[in-house]
Amino acid sequence: MRGRCFVAFVSVALLAGSPAPALAQQRGSDIGGQPTKRKLTKMPRLVKFVEAEYPPAKKAAGVAASVVLTIEIGATGKVTAVSVAESAGADFDAAAAAAAAGFEFEPAEVDDKPAPAKITYRYDFVIAAPEPPAAALAALEGEVRAASTFAPLGGVKVTVSREPAPDGAAPIVKSATTDAAGRFSLPDLPAGTYAVVVEAPDGTTTRFSETAAPGKTTRVRYDVVLPPPARPSPPDGVDEVEIRGRPRARREIVDYAVRAEQAKKVAGTQGDVLKVVQNLPGVSRPPVASGQIVVWGSAPRDTRVYVDGVDLPALYHGSGLRGTINSDLVASIDLVPGAFGAEYGRGLGGLVRVETRSLPRGTHGYVGADTLDGSAFASTQIGERVRVGSAFRYSWLDRVLAAASPSSTGGASDIGDFFPIPRYRDAQLKATIDLRKRESLDTVVLVSSDALDRTVPSPDPAKRRVEATRSGFWRAYARYTNTTDDGDTAIVTPFVGHDASSLVQRFGANPTRLEVDSDRYGLRASLRSKLGSRVVLVTGMDALGTASSVSREGSLTLPPREGDVAVFGQPAGDEYAVDRWKTHILDVGPHAYADVRVGPVTLTPGVRFDAFVIEGSKSLPPAGNVPPIGFSRMETTVAPRASARWDVTRRLALTTAYGNYHQPPEPEDLSAVFGTPELGLSRSTHITAGESLRVTDSLTVDVVAFDKRMKDLVVRSRLANPLRARSLTQNGEGRSYGVQLLLRQELWRGFFGWASYAISKSERRFEGDEEWRPFDFDQPHVLSLVASQEIGSWSVGARFRYASGNPRTPVIGSVYDARSDRFDPVFGPQSTTRIPSFWQLDLRVDRTFVLGRGVRALVFADLQNVTNRDNAEEIAYSADFRRRGIITGLPFIAVVGGRLEL
């Protein structure tokens, strides 16, 4: 009987949930005997239900039925008559009628007065299905730690959620908060795959995916990356509490770090973590498809890129379309535009530091594809101590363009002939071995390659163009980390690698070729020791050797150098030279610095000693049968570095930094024919001063003023007949100064973003000149606005950029070269005009789908230049230089893609 009652109740209840519940429950109701002109103002409502006796024989036979009754209800609500309108058999009819006779109603009302009524009622006899056995429940337990220190995090909200499953399983959302030990427990979860959101008290959220096995407790550990906390002064008499653990890379005085999970969301980056660097303060906007990094007015090659402390030749593939490291293997990326500490050297510009991600436990991965390329990443755990991950990327833009080209419909088939289409590949392999407690070994292999080909056919032999560019590198390194119980940390990273680049051009008769092959090896080691409660001493070694083999032919002026006076597309001079040479540059750089805390002031004095050994195979150009004579010399430098931070209040800090920097010559510049084998070190001095204001726990304002002075820069000789092996000189001087502002909102309630603005000036001159000229990449005003908001499974973002145009030398006339049958430009004063300013708005939207079983899908659209603005990328001239126009950059484009994550 209980089952029947339940069935009847459910039946009514289900009907009540339908769009027209009254009519469904009382199908065909009418008001008997009432004049139609009277108005029914209230339907009768069942207030007492009587269960019918299920005919035993029918129940035993499993027979269900429905009996439709006509029930007459009096003005008091009592049932006055019951008759069968649709029979289901005598036994069912009798049982239904007997039950209905006992019903009680609130009476119907006509013209707002109780009145008798007659309704039609269907009584369903349903055999209740046996209740399914209760699902075996699961539990999720674990702890949450700070990724930087492994310290437990209390007060962290852990929320698990499961969307409705295709089989109808109900959605589930449960939360728990970690205790002081960072532990949490979520019992009684139906088995299945859950999205896990870990939300720190400051609003920082991190997402994971977990599978809860039936009848088991799944134990997890989440290491979450938190924004740098405010640095409150310890109370008087209390030493600052030190959190032990593996330290992340030391933060510099001017250091902009972006966590990978945020960087992926920045509009215009197509989810590429490394491309976020281009939107950070102090970074000039690079020319389209160049992939160059210009920070604080330094030349692109003066900024160094490090991955886990290992030098890389390029952060981006040659086209600038992608980073050379898979974003899923990146934990964070830091930009230090200048005044960095003693750990780094060999560069006059800034630093870009990439930290690879700790491989997660379990098996994870993704497969992704978009308009530009396809990529994948997979990692797994082998036993308790070993984790292995691998990623790769393969570009197919050239094929997409070929497929999208109208050539198939009879249009142009020569897109690739006129516009170089980049092809790039990269792959990474990382293995982590947890040796002992607080002791680990990471081994990493990075591989990248780029290719760019272009052929321009012409009936004129002088205008047939062939261009082939190749570049690539690989690195293999091991990173050993050992942290003692006292908190002292030792990190040792030996590495080897190879860089290769090749540029082959033939514009008409004059070929250009530059091939560089470099073997690289080195070691980075550091020991961080705590000396008392207020001093931390770091000593280290940074050694890098580069053995290069270089081959070059063509004009001295191609490839161009900073400061060359030329216009876009202008052929190099007709002069032709050839050289092959080898170089070996070894730099051993022991260094030390200390963090000394004196009350609210932290002083970081440091010093770096560098010993450069520079060797080459030719000190003079070849002459007759005289065998080449090599050269070898050593230069040593002492570079003081220092910084200070004064925490004026809990939220306000004043900072300053100073440093001397040295940079060895490039192997390409040590040619006895094209360059100068005796080139020495270029030098620069950086000074910064700024403030950092933490408005809220997640909103900061940083203002930094900087000044860079550069000397001994490598420039072309200005003589018509320089000495042999002196085509380049070190008479270049530079200065760069400015102020930059960063207003930054860390992740808070799904939102993050920043606004950065820099006003600066970067200039160069030849030693002895009175006048300075703008640096070729000088951009006095650079503004970036970045914002991203997470709304449920959606994420939307926008990026706005404004940048001054780079300086150019105006053309004031032309002269006809009757031998080459072309016009040569006549130039005005150097660098006295500019490319028009640039601004662009990009948008991004993505959505995440939880597919169950730990699988998520992400679909995104990255809309670039949504206003379709014709941004100027370069100034171009007509063949006779009488007319001037601009080369415009990308129109509106939509890069769409998606990825499937496990």
């Binding site: 389209v288 142009a412 047939r464 004059n510 001079g573 003589l719 002269v815 601009i886 509106f892």
Partner: protein, 306 residues
Amino acid sequence: MHRSLRALSLVVVLGGAPFACRPDFGDRESLVTRTQVLAVRGDPPEAKPGEVVSWSLLVATPDGPVAEPIASWALCATPKLLTENGAASAACLGDGVRPIVEGAAAASAAIPGDACALFGPQVAAAELRPRDPDVTGGYYQPVRVTVFDRGATSVAFGLQRVGCALANASADVTTDFSRRYVANANPELEPLEATLGGAPVALDAIPAGATVTLRASWPAEAAERYVVYDLASRAVVERRETMRVSWFATAGTFESDRTGRAEDELETSTTNTWTAPRAAGSAHLFVVLRDARGGVAFASHALVIR
């Protein structure tokens, strides 16, 4: 706009390509729209210091060739800096020249004795860097020509090839080179052939709007074989001159502004098409033939469109 550029616009929208679009000025190098120096011819085209060279001009205006152009002639006396890409030093547009003659259609002068020092590999001291040759092994004395016509001034540089000694070559290579090298000679143009639909057509009877096929030819010996000191192998190697033809006209449209034959193309002619204006009238056509070592031949033709 070039059809590829149009196609690219679509492709970029579809594919997000990392490209930029170059402006289309709509200019054709082959259309003579103002007074313009089309060629400077040295005779001989290659001479050693002290030898006398005569230079002549081909100057065109929208009305046709200038028979006796008024030109100022000067020898450039300032070498280029290492940083300069052009044919001659910017100083040679100013006072850094040695004047030859004023107001003449042609000029003659001896190649200065210091030409190989200023523009060639000869250096005043052993520690100085010799200048680099071009890819054919040649060094060139710039000759500045300033043409005055109808109040306008056109400046051009003719580059006179100068016979200089090899730089940085061993004695045996120098000897071998001297023995085998033959100074350049100017090429010659054969009579221009014009055909319409495969049949010869007279240049003074071209149908309006017709597309005429033009063939410029030269004797087989005009594309000379020559030896050059190869800087990579540090040996004397033999090469063959490329031949380029520059086409100009005061009206109508060429299919290609320039045509030619590369070093490995043995043909002794090159073809182009010219589409006559749709209206009857006259026009002028100019053909300039250049070899890889600075040799020049040119011709002008009066066209009548009927």
